[in-house]
């Protein structure tokens, strides 16, 4: 039997939204679905390594200095309070044994969920492949997502 397809665009780089995306993705994979997560715009921060900055020109470097990468340091969409919010949230998640975002990334990879990075954001932000974690399935564009979305019944934009 052909597997059902589940596609998620992860546009947001906020910890809470990304958490929702990973909960759905790992559950779908557990339900035998073929899952692809397309990370674009701020969402790319989930797949970035923790680096001081990256970028090819000055503007990109400045932008990436404030737009920090790394799954372990995503801000909250609400009550970020200069990082106090995420700190409290991480502690609360740990108390309730909810996996952290970096743990969800690893779990997703081991479950065969495909992590796709958007090439447009990649280019205009001046990223290099070396700025990203290992295990990214592909670097592609909107047509790839739409072609996959047409084959799946469930498609989300987070």
């Amino acid at each position: 039997m052909e597997k059902e397809k589940f596609n998620i665009v992860v546009f947001s780089g906020d910890m809470d939204r990304v958490l929702a995306a990973f909960i759905l993705a790992t559950t779908a994979a557990s339900m035998n679905m073929e899952v692809k997560m397309f990370f674009t715009f701020w969402g790319l921060n989930v797949l970035r390594k923790k680096k001081f900055t990256s970028g090819k020109n000055l503007l990109q470097k400045l932008m990436n200095l404030i737009n920090k990468g790394g799954a372990e340091r995503l801000p909250l969409s609400k009550f970020n309070m200069l990082g106090m919010g995420p700190m409290m949230m991480k502690k609360m998640m740990k108390q309730s044994r909810v996996p952290s975002i970096p743990e969800f990334v690893e779990m997703s990879k081991s479950m065969g969920i495909k992590l796709v990075a958007c090439t447009t954001t990649f280019s205009f932000m001046g990223f290099a492949k070396d700025d990203f974690i290992d295990g990214i399935d592909s670097y592609s564009g909107a047509a790839t997502y739409l072609s996959d979305a047409l084959e799946g019944k469930v498609s989300y934009f987070i």
Binding site: E4, T27, S30, M31, N32, S96, M107, M111
Partner: protein, 77 residues
């Protein structure tokens, strides 16, 4: 109910009980029964939903002292 295998998800929240159920079922033989112990009430609806989608047999949930014991029979590879 007699189970061939047990998985303890006590204290774990969504999606972990379902993720662990899927992972454990993978390693079981057809016909075997899995018992999932959980504290998250969501399992009452999530486990039958998981079975419906994956084609495994949902054999019911028992509630004892605020704990849930869900039973699933593997009927599909």
């Amino acid at each position: 109910m007699e189970a061939n295998k047990k998985v303890d998800c006590y204290g774990l929240l969504c999606p972990m009980p379902i993720v662990l159920t899927a992972d454990t079922i993978k390693g079981m033989e057809i016909g075997e029964i899995l018992e999932v112990r959980a504290s998250d009430e969501g399992i009452k609806h999530d486990m039958p939903a998981w079975c419906k989608v994956t084609g495994q047999r949902f054999m019911g949930i028992e509630e004892r002292d605020g704990e849930y014991f869900a039973y699933v029979q593997k009927i599909k590879a």
